[in-house]
């Protein structure tokens, strides 16, 4: 009893109490508000859009123009849709650091909330592809792996390679590997056609077909090595390299041993 009354009179009591109170209120509020993230009120939406606008003006307008109209170094963002922004900003491609060949995937500098705000802002200026929600991304339920494989080989393998390992385009551009990419981003890339990638409209590749493609890619990711080390899954080039290094190396090594006189 005496200890507690002594503590109450200590100098740090008040500031400590303040910190505890703030912490408690803050966590309670965020826990309470998190569950309603997708159901923003009108006010919350317009707050999000205006937050997005502020972020845009600060971090994107120097290249994409004050009104998203684009400049000589960056395209217009009018009508690109929330999906584009979610993809580009969410994978860290935007803001673009190295302007030489293409935007590279890197650590995003905007967190999920800021990305959503940017997306909402861009979508508010002109209609465009929307961010797919979770029920639209249930590839396990709605996709078919074998169909996805056929679709992949017809529409994607020529850039991304038969095993989705990525491939070269012209002038130093490349189609990146799809291993380890979130299903949402794969879907968004298909509907928005980032940079060199074309758009795959929902009528030519239906949403169900897109999910089949994603299911196939996810299966390929988990595909175990049936025959041993995969050697990069790029085909005969690495196989030939292995023969000339490990294969001939071992054989010539044994040949030298064979012809050397024993002690």
């Amino acid at each position: 009893m005496r200890k507690l009354s002594q503590l109450r009179r200590s100098r740090i009591a008040s500031p400590l109490l303040l910190v505890i109170a703030l912490f408690t209120i803050g966590t309670t509020f965020s826990v309470a508000s998190a569950s309603n993230k997708s159901e923003l009120t009108v006010d919350q939406r317009s707050a999000q859009i205006s937050e997005g606008k502020q972020l845009f003006l600060k971090g994107c307008s120097s290249c994409h123009g004050l009104n998203l109209e684009g400049t000589s170094i960056a395209p217009s963002l009018i009508g690109v849709g929330a999906a584009s922004v979610d993809f580009q900003v969410g994978t860290g491609r935007m803001p673009m650091a190295d302007m030489s060949t293409q935007a590279v995937r890197k650590k995003p500098i905007y967190n999920a909330e800021q990305t959503a705000a940017l997306a909402a802002y861009v979508a508010s200026t002109a209609p465009g592809p929307a961010i797919p929600n979770d029920s639209a991304l249930n590839y396990e339920r709605d996709g078919n792996t074998a169909d996805g494989g056929t679709l992949f080989r017809t529409n994607c393998a020529m850039c991304h390679n038969f095993a989705a390992q990525g491939g070269a385009l012209t002038q130093g551009k490349y189609a990146p590997t799809l291993m380890g990419v979130e299903p949402k981003y794969i879907y968004e890339a298909m509907i928005t056609g980032p940079q060199a990638m074309p758009v795959f409209s929902d009528k030519t590749i239906t949403p169900a077909e897109k999910l089949s493609i994603i299911k196939w890619i996810k299966g390929a990711e988990k595909e175990p090595q049936l025959g041993g080390a995969a050697l990069g899954r790029v085909g005969p080039v690495t196989e030939g390299l292995l023969v000339w290094t490990l294969g001939l190396g071992l054989l010539i090594g044994v040949a030298v041993w064979l012809a050397t006189k024993a002690r």
Binding site: A146, L169, G172, Y174, G235, L251, A259
Partner: protein, 528 residues
């Protein structure tokens, strides 16, 4: 006599009474074989061929060489319910359901890659040491034939499963056939039984791959080995070795044991690769569809140089009088390879024309002592390497963050610029090595010990080299250039003037060497 000796005697008697084998066996069991690791490269190729026969036969027990369409219900989820050819489906069956099937497929394909690599390094050894000279020109031509047929056989082999990658290769092969002037479309339609892809090609190449070419291989390899056996293997120069003898180990028991053991080594290494390294995973490529393609499509490595040449070709085509000739296909696909391989086959005769040397040779050349031949070889290898690298330009671009366009331009220029540079650099290196050998003979080996002379000068102590090494460094001959007179004694110009002029010029360049130490040089040194 022990029981075992009695039994052996009875068997030997039985066989000899019917074949007279004892005489032949007696002579050949004591045959002498020179022993050097570089003589085992051809053996790697030979043993790989046997491995291909064994593993290939296994595969034919399950493979269905038919292009008729089947529905896949085999259990590999990503291909479930798809239509594919029976060839592809049976290859999936071998890979997934037949126990040991995938291992055998992989051993077969790795053995094929090793077979071709071994042929190439064996060819390089024979070339750089001059083992193709008389009396071995026939064997050289058979070897070039084996190399060419090996490329075809390998291509047909990996095309059998009818997957997306190899089907693309067949499409390209069909385009080459189709591009032949006058007869191209007819030959293509006959080969494919109609338009591409048709249903006749895979069954037909199965027969070629499994019956016709292996038969030809067996005949050529037998002839190749018989010539080596009868002419006796060449040997490196050295103490006790002359053009008239062969120094080594007798067939029985040492050579037999080593050569036989090496077969198991080659098989073991191939099986090891088949165990730990995935090759030709056709289930990932998918069945062939002419409307599909993968980024980074290449043929197997031994055809990579052809692909590279085709990629770097300028877009040349002539359209004349209602006909088209595709130089962009014919030049890199047929004409340049034809010139290269013909030149390679005829090289022994070209070299003997330059040197005028018509004697038998059984002692090998040290590459440094034949700088022109070595430099020419380096030049050819550089050409092939640039072409090979260009064949993989998209894989290189993607992995090293380069651009395919830039790599292509680099290749287009390098293929003309780098080979002559390689020639000059290699020749200079050979001459420098000759100079170093000469120094070694004249002045001995540098010991790294310093000695102070009475008048204060520091010199490095040199140790004379052993007589064996001195012999090895000077045993080679240095033939002078051909002296071909352009006019005879009365000043009349000789027939074949231009040819002789060319021959003399090349012969002079060929004879450029650092002179071996003469007796005078050695005597002069003694006074030091």
């Amino acid at each position: 006599m022990t029981a075992r000796e009695r039994v052996a005697g009875t068997v030997a008697n039985y066989v000899d009474e019917r074949t007279g084998a004892a005489k032949w066996a007696k002579k050949n069991l004591t045959k002498v074989f020179p022993d050097h690791w570089s003589f085992l490269l051809g053996e790697v190729a030979l043993y790989s061929f046997i491995i291909l026969l064994l593993s290939g036969t296994f595969l034919t027990f399950w493979f269905d060489p038919s292009q008729r369409e089947v529905l896949y219900e085999g259990g590999y989820q990503p291909l479930e319910g798809l239509h594919m050819s029976a060839a592809y489906a049976s290859t999936l069956h071998i890979s997934f359901e037949v126990r040991g099937g995938l291992l055998m497929r992989q051993i077969h394909h790795w053995a094929a890659l090793i077979f071709m690599a071994a042929i190439v390094v064996h060819l390089m050894r024979v070339y750089f040491t001059g083992a193709f000279r008389k009396p071995r020109e026939f064997n050289w031509i058979i070897g070039v034939g084996l190399l060419t047929l090996g490329i075809v056989e390998g291509f047909l082999g990996y095309s059998l499963p009818d997957d997306l990658l190899s089907g693309t290769g067949i499409r390209i092969a069909e385009a080459i056939i189709q591009a032949l002037p006058v007869v191209g479309t007819y030959i293509a339609f006959f080969a494919f039984g109609g338009a591409f892809p048709g249903e006749a090609f895979i069954p037909r190449i199965f027969t070629v791959h499994v019956l016709l070419l292996p038969g030809i291989f067996l005949a050529l390899i037998t002839a190749h080995l018989m010539l080596v056996w009868y002419q006796k293997h060449t040997q490196w120069p050295g103490p006790g070795r002359t053009e008239k003898n062969v120094v080594g180990y007798p067939l029985m028991p040492a050579y037999m044991a080593k050569a036989g053991g090496f077969f198991f080594i080659v098989f073991g290494v191939t099986a090891f690769l088949g165990a730990v390294a995935s090759i030709n995973p056709i289930w990932l490529y998918g069945p062939y569809n002419p409307g599909q393609i993968s980024a980074g499509s290449q043929p197997d490595w031994y055809m990579g140089w052809l692909d590279g040449l085709v990629r770097m070709s300028p877009p040349l085509e002539t359209h004349l009088l209602g006909h088209t000739i595709s130089w962009n296909i014919l030049i890199p696909g047929l004409i340049v390879p034809g010139i290269l391989f013909t030149g390679m086959a005829l090289y022994p005769f070209i070299e003997s024309w330059i040197t005028g040397d018509k004697r038998e040779h059984h002692l090998l050349d040290r590459p440094r002592n034949v700088p022109n031949r070595t430099a020419l070889g380096a030049m050819s290898l550089t050409f092939m390497l640039v072409a090979l690298i260009n064949g993989g330009n998209d894989i290189i671009a993607n992995n090293f963050h380069l651009g395919i366009n830039q790599i292509m331009w680099f290749s287009r220029i390098s293929i003309f610029v780098l080979p002559p540079i390689a020639f000059v650099v290699t020749k200079r290196i050979c001459l420098s090595l000759q100079r170093a050998d000469r120094e070694l003979v004249l002045h001995g080996r540098e010991t790294g010990r310093l000695m102070m002379l009475p008048h204060g000068e520091f010199v490095e102590v040199h140790e004379p080299i052993s007589p064996e090494l001195a012999w090895k460094l000077t045993a080679h001959e240095q033939a002078p250039a051909l002296a071909l007179e352009e006019t005879d004694s009365r000043g009349v110009r000789r027939a074949g003037g231009l040819k002789n002029k060319l021959r003399k010029r090349i012969s002079q360049a060929n004879a450029e060497n650092i002179a071996k130490p003469t007796v005078e040089d050695l005597k002069a040194i003694e006074h030091h």
